[in-house]
């Protein structure tokens, strides 16, 4: 995903002279080509996230389209109030990139865990929040975020994530159907999409079950129309997210369902509201807390048994 981000940024900078990139001293050997081609438009502000946010605000006030970049926990939680006041309150078009969201840096400890990035950003009025699931969604969403006249946050992963394909286009604010199905629907965001795709293949091949799978790459604003239609058409929804239980996709989904009086049973698979200690590998962490591919298979089979 980071390679997709760097490539997309490079080509967007070529098309639009307003694009300026600021990093909080992150991205070793990632942005050499960009900084050589556009020297003034690459700025390493140092390990100074507050300054990165405020400088981006100043650039946006002068008509630029700044993209700011750090590790997800340092891009969001660390300068949170400055994002809220200097970017959110005046509604400035700045794209915040959080690299390694969720438990991407699981083995680095709670300082680097960012299960709260989506929730924090979604709390800011007017903020658009996206979590692509593969490099293709990164490539497609970044230019759409740069078209906005308001701030946005994109959580991205690391390097080498698998690409998946689907017939539906990748449109900001729209859920994307990755697999049609019946009876049960799996809802994912971010990097849970490829995990759910792998569960889907097991379900089809070994259990002859075909639940629907929808990727909500845009968590805010949530695609309420699609969600409500989907909730009405199935017997159970299963939300899979690598985020805190508050303020993420699950919270957005249940809020919409309550508001529309939809009583479809809903299950959340994801990490609990808990400090994750012991530096687990990301896969082991997902297994421990029951949101890996096996857990999705188990939950889907149980859902079909209850139909």
């Amino acid at each position: 995903m980071r390679r997709a981000f760097v490539d997309a940024l490079y080509s967007l900078a070529e098309q639009d002279p307003r694009v300026v990139f600021l990093t909080g001293d992150m991205g070793f050997e990632m942005f050499e080509a960009f900084s050589q081609k556009y020297p003034g438009r690459y700025v390493n502000v140092g390990i100074a996230e507050a300054q990165m946010v405020c400088a981006a605000a100043g650039l946006a006030l002068e008509g630029f389209r700044p993209v700011i970049y750090s590790i997800a926990s340092f891009a969001t939680g660390r300068p949170y109030e400055l994002i809220k006041i200097s970017l959110g309150y005046p509604s400035l078009p700045v794209v915040i990139i959080g690299a390694g969201g969720g438990y991407c840096y699981s083995a680095s400890g709670p300082t680097h865990h960012a299960a709260d990035d989506i929730a924090l950003m979604a709390l800011i009025p007017g903020m658009t929040v996206v979590a692509p699931g593969d490099p293709g969604e990164v490539t497609a969403l970044l230019p759409q975020l740069l078209q906005l006249d308001s701030p946005s946050y994109m959580r991205i992963g690391k390097f080498g994530e698998p690409k998946y394909s689907a017939d539906e286009a990748i449109l900001l604010g729209k859920a994307r159907c990755l697999a049609a199905g019946e009876g049960v629907a799996i809802l994912t965001t971010g990097e849970m999409a490829p995990i759910a795709l792998s569960a889907l293949s097991t379900l089809r091949n070994e259990h002859q079950k075909s639940p629907a799978l929808f990727q909500f790459h845009t968590v805010k604003p949530i695609d309420a129309e699609r969600l409500i239609a989907l909730a009405k058409s199935v017997s159970q929804l299963i939300v899979v997210e690598e985020s805190a239980p508050s303020g993420g996709l699950y919270a957005a989904v249940i809020a919409q369902m309550a508001q529309h009086g939809i009583r479809t049973p809903i299950v959340r698979l994801g990490p609990p509201d808990e400090w994750v200690l012991g530096n687990p590998q990301r896969n082991n962490l997902r297994t421990r807390y029951g949101f890996d591919s096996h857990a999705i298979v188990r939950q889907v089979l149980e859902a079909y048994r209850n139909i």
């Binding site: 140092g46 300054q51 400088a55 100043g58 109030e81």
Partner: protein, 279 residues
């Protein structure tokens, strides 16, 4: 006097001092009427605002030429509003609505209701960083004329983000940046020296790669003379540490007046005892 003054001709010092006295009187009255305001913070910076708006900043011409001003210590907005009205940037009738529900002049500036304000303020330690972004952007656009003036508080300099921004400004050699610190020595609940220890802000800014001077911030001649030397050193951002007082004898040096607004009697005494700007 700097080049910009040709676009915004300076009033004689006597006139500026008279203006400062008028602004101070209006601030006291408005604070009394509204029952709101960080009064001492507003009073201390009046000579600085007067010199900036009526002698230093270029506020006419095209956007590409105009200087940018950021009131980073947003709680000191009352005297800024009065200065804006005197300068003709907002209607004078607005002032009586200060801090009332629905007013374009809340007790922290909001750019949605006050478009002349570049930023919304009220949370400290953000204006300097925004100014560095503006100047970096102006340089990218090759608009090298406008200067950016940020008015901050000494209490505000407690915030770590100020020093992140100070490092960036020095690293990027933003010599069109002028930070003015209203150094009244008092913050919300105490004296800066007692709370923060070593508070020689000139030394601090110099240590961060700036040029900095300490002056008497209630003396219009001193302020004007200092501004003529801006930028103090080519290639470095400049800071003016302006030691200030409220110029209302019974309020000076009292932490109480950070929040308190004057009663009718206190207002009368204040207006009678109002001290002139320093020579």
């Amino acid at each position: 006097m700097s080049m910009a003054c040709t676009a915004n001709p300076s009033l004689p010092v006597g006139k500026l001092e008279e203006l400062a006295r008028e602004i101070r009187g209006e601030c006291l009255t408005l604070a009394h009427q509204s029952g709101e305001g960080h009064l001492s913070s507003s009073l201390c910076q009046i000579e600085l605002l007067t010199a900036l708006y009526f002698a230093f900043m270029n506020l006419s011409g095209t956007q590409e030429q105009r200087d940018r001003f950021i009131l980073s210590k947003g709680h000191g907005c009352l005297s800024w509003y009065v200065a804006l009205a005197k300068h003709g940037d907002i209607p004078a009738e607005w002032l009586s609505s200060y801090a009332r529900e629905g007013s374009p002049l809340p007790n922290h500036p909001c750019k949605h209701s006050l478009p002349v304000s570049i930023t919304s303020a009220g949370s400290l330690g953000q204006g300097l960083g925004i100014a560095t972004g503006i100047l970096y952007g102006l340089r990218l656009k090759r608009e090298l004329e406008p200067r950016c003036v940020v008015l901050m508080g000494d209490g505000e300099c407690n915030e770590g983000s100020v020093w992140e921004s100070a490092m960036f400004a020095a690293a990027q050699k933003l010599d069109n940046l002028l930070a003015i610190v209203d150094n009244n020595g008092i913050q919300a609940v105490g004296k800066s020296d007692e709370i923060m220890g070593h508070t020689d802000l000139s030394e601090k800014f110099r240590a961060f790669g700036w040029d900095a001077v300490t002056i008497d911030g209630n003396s219009i001649p001193q302020i004007l003379e200092t501004l003529t030397r801006f930028p103090f050193t080519k290639g470095k951002p400049s800071a003016i540490i302006a030691r200030t007082r409220t110029m209302v004898p019974f309020m000076d040096g009292k932490v109480l007046w950070h929040y308190r607004v004057p009663s009718a009697e206190e207002l009368e005494t204040a207006l009678q005892d109002l001290q002139p700007s320093l020579p």
